[in-house]
């Protein structure tokens, strides 16, 4: 790919990447700055006449089945959802990168053992892995949720990083470093890690989007964000029965997730291109 490796730290130069960063910043600013101006997202002001109200002056996005303000919940929920998805994605990618780098660099028996375990774990439905996490933690705080999603989501990344590391290992700059007497750790951290960063960034951004959706499904396992704390995932889960009769309750968090996924994807893609043409 012919791409400008611009000044590090600058905004991505392609318009789509810049739009993605701006969109993410806007989302972040909204969830951080708006709350003081919003009603309490837990409050159920009128359970008789105030439920499932359509969008209007008092409630810009309407109210849900418990008469709570959907817009307030959306904003507060964004804090949780963005934190969980970014946190879990970072954790998953860090774990995946660690295992992948070691396996790919060490090769031989270490690689065979690690990859066999990764393959086997990939063959185990993620639902069951997540359930095990529930078993170990039982009461799930927010960090537990991040841990659970992150700890079960690194397997694919490790394969990706391993393949990339194996390719790089044979390249001249690594051999040269080795010949110059650099230690394994130094080679791993200084020479290999930065070069697998491209696919990693893409993996992170894709994973962050997936996590937002995953969290909605996790409510079925009791693994989601617990009420009354709103999250985009549990808002979607709670609104499921009213999808047809009061669509605004379900569509609002859905669009929020879509915006989040979209922004993260734009950033990921353009970063991926900057780091060297990896689309996956």
């Amino acid at each position: 790919m012919t791409d400008s490796l611009g000044v590090p730290g600058a905004l991505p130069r392609e318009p789509s990447g810049r739009a993605g960063v701006l969109l993410l910043l806007a989302l972040g600013a909204a969830v951080l700055l708006l709350p003081p101006f919003l009603p309490d997202p837990r409050a159920q002001p009128d359970l008789v006449a105030g439920v499932l109200l359509p969008p209007g002056w008092d409630h810009p996005l309407g109210t849900d089945h418990l008469s709570r303000d959907v817009f307030a919940r959306l904003v507060y929920g964004g804090r949780v959802s963005l934190a969980v998805s970014l946190g879990a994605a970072l954790l998953a990618v860090t774990l995946g990168a660690g295992v992948g780098l070691v396996a790919g660099y060490a090769g031989g028996r270490t690689d065979a053992v690690l990859m066999r375990v990764v393959d086997a774990a990939l063959a185990v439905p993620r639902l069951i892995l997540l359930l095990l996490v529930v078993a170990l933690l039982e009461r799930i705080p927010l960090w537990g949720l991040i841990l659970a999603i992150g700890a079960t989501g690194w397997l694919g990344t490790s394969r990706l990083v391993r393949a990339e590391t194996m390719r790089l290992r044979t390249m001249e700059f690594v051999r040269a470093a080795s010949a110059l007497g650099a230690g394994h750790l130094r080679i791993l951290l200084r020479h290999l890690a930065p070069n697998v960063a491209g696919p990693l960034v893409v993996a992170t951004t894709l994973a962050a989007g997936d996590v937002m959706l995953l969290e909605a499904g996790l409510s079925y396992l009791g693994l989601g964000v617990q009420a009354p704390t709103p999250s985009w995932g549990n808002m979607i889960f709670d609104a499921k029965p009213y999808l047809v009769t009061a669509p605004w309750v379900a569509v609002a968090p859905g669009i929020a997730i879509l915006l989040g996924v979209f922004a993260v994807n734009l950033v990921g893609e353009s970063l991926g291109q900057r780091f060297g043409g990896h689309h996956r």
């Binding site: 006449a49 089945h65 409510s219 617990q226 009420a227 029965p241």
Partner: protein
């Protein structure tokens, strides 16, 4: 949830007196969407779940069924089924006389041997552990004549007739006696049960449907619908869709469907209000979750339990989950059970009183963090909710918010069902959203609320010897039983062992294609054979 001002519910009498058998032959196909699959609709293979029992009730009759009032203590209130009369020989003996017209679906007459055989299987703790436990007070069941059966009880107690008829329907001895009991579950009989009821077993498509066919020679009358098809739709969304797309004629309760409001007044359906044996409540753990030998630091105080109840607008909460006809009970007494034992009125919804009670017992917000505390301990606990049950999640959210306004910090724990059952059984919870389908008889209360049932059915680990002794005395003296039961229930109402939220009334939608519709509270579909297809209402699926 908006409360509809006028719910077009036909307050049909849940029971009709046995209608004169119509002369016409069976016609039409009745389709019912159900949530759970009947894996083995055969008595003693029931495995204790409702789904099997509901189908089994169409295939296998009992000696007698509960009467319109569902009374369990009066021998004469029962309605004849396989037995056309019975006689009380003495305080410990009942004698039944079988209806000579009763036949198994293969044409063989129903004999006293079948009755004895059915009880033998039901009372064997290895084969049917749950039922055997309930039939412990039966001493013997013997054939005493060509069509006579005598049942002898170990002691004198009020619900003998109920025990003799409700739990153990006769089984076809001529088909099963030669079979080793263990192999019945995997046998041809279990796959295609041969019963004696208004419907015969048609076919079962695992995970999808179950088809029953009218028994044209049914001795109590000709069934109306020629076929009854149960469609399995575990997802409530699917049941609603089947009903709204015209594929199903009935479901058990619109309030188990998502967003019942859109079904509350649909022109295609008639709505039957059916009192049930279901109660919904929040259990409060009376023992310390981490150390069962100690009392629970919060819920062992009756004043606190009372304040928690006073703080809740239970009518609103239960109504939003189970519909406006639902009643708020003061004790674990379902609408059906209420007929046998009247409970005192529930505590009012009175937040001011709740506040006063809390303040009087020392709960105040001393550190200004919004949560009230006492002796340095904030008033906070967790409320466990099984994730798949939407109604309980809905109620729990409202309770959490109502308590928060009083400065009580409740953490909701929505947990996966397997974990829920485990923690409940082990007593590892503070409070939990529970639901129960009760036995139609007051002595069944001991299964959940007596000291002796701690470690088994008494999940709240509540223990009040006064309640236990009243129940025990009622069990010994049939004549005083009603008064003693009432006093026992009053003890529960006074003690507030749990937060009783709902005595459910189901609203059963049935397509207007069917007339003469009756739904039984103890088994919703047991009387579908009395329904008739309305003239001119036939659909393509009704053609034979």
């Amino acid at each position: 949830m908006p409360r509809p001002s006028t719910l077009p519910v036909v307050f049909a009498l849940a029971f009709a007196a046995p209608a004169a058998p119509a002369a016409q032959s069976p016609s039409g196909t009745l389709v019912i969407a159900v949530a759970r699959e009947a894996q083995s609709p055969v008595p003693t293979l029931w495995r204790g779940d409702q789904a099997n029992r509901e189908i089994s009730d169409l295939l296998f009759l009992r000696l007698a069924s509960l009467g319109p009032a569902l009374g369990t203590t009066d021998d004469s209130s029962f309605v004849p089924q396989l037995a056309h009369r019975w006689k009380r020989v003495d305080g410990r003996t009942l004698r039944f006389e079988l209806d000579p017209r009763a036949r198994w679906h293969d044409g063989t007459p129903v004999t006293p041997r079948d009755v004895v055989f059915g009880f033998d299987r039901a009372r064997d703790p290895k084969l049917s552990p749950q039922v055997a436990l309930l039939l412990q007070r039966i001493e013997s069941v013997t054939a005493t004549g060509k069509d006579r059966v005598t049942i002898r009880f170990r002691e004198r107690y009020p619900e003998q007739m109920y025990d003799a008829t409700y739990h153990a329907p006769p089984l076809p001895a001529h088909l099963l006696a030669a079979m080793p009991p263990d192999s019945v579950a995997g046998s041809e009989f279990a796959a295609h049960p041969v019963g004696n009821g208004p419907y015969t077993f048609g076919r079962r498509v695992a995970g999808q449907s179950l088809e029953l066919l009218a028994n044209p020679t049914f001795f109590l009358g000709t069934p109306g619908p020629a076929r009854v098809i149960f469609l399995l739709a575990g997802d409530a969304e699917t049941r609603a869709n089947l009903l709204l797309s015209g594929k199903a004629d009935a479901v058990d309760n619109i309030y188990t469907l998502p967003n019942p409001a859109r079904l509350e007044r649909h022109p295609d359906f008639q709505y039957l209000s059916v009192p049930t044996l279901s109660v919904g409540y929040a259990n409060l753990n009376h023992r310390d979750p981490s150390d069962p030998s100690r009392l629970h630091p919060l819920f062992s105080h009756p004043d606190l339990r009372r304040a928690l109840v006073l703080a809740l607008n239970r009518e609103q909460i239960a109504g939003s989950a189970y519909g406006p006809a639902t009643r708020v009970p003061s004790a674990p007494v379902s609408v059906v059970l209420e007929r046998a034992v009247k409970a005192p009125p529930p505590l009012p919804f009175d937040t001011a009183e709740a506040r006063r009670l809390l303040a009087r017992t020392g709960w105040r917000d001393t550190d200004g963090d919004g949560t009230i505390d006492r002796g340095g301990r904030p008033l906070t606990f967790s409320l466990m909710v099984p994730a798949p049950v939407a109604a309980r999640r809905l109620m729990a959210s409202q309770m959490q918010e109502a308590w928060r306004r009083l400065g009580i910090a409740v953490e909701l724990e929505v947990v996966e069902p397997g974990l829920y059952h485990q923690r409940r059984a082990e007593g590892r919870y503070d409070a939990e959203m529970a639901g129960a389908t009760q036995d139609p008889t007051p002595s069944g209360l001991s299964q959940s609320w007596s000291c002796g049932a701690i470690g088994a059915g008494n999940v709240a680990r509540y223990c009040n010897p006064r309640f236990d002794s009243l129940l025990a005395r009622a069990g010994r003296s049939p004549s005083d039983a009603p008064a003693l039961w009432r006093r026992a229930v009053a003890v529960l109402a006074e003690d507030v062992p749990a937060i009783f939220l709902a005595a459910q009334v189901f609203v059963v939608p049935v397509h207007r294609r069917f007339v003469g519709v009756v739904v039984r509270p103890d088994s919703p579909w047991a009387d579908v054979w009395r329904w008739r297809l309305a003239p001119g209402a036939a659909l393509p699926r009704d053609r034979p």
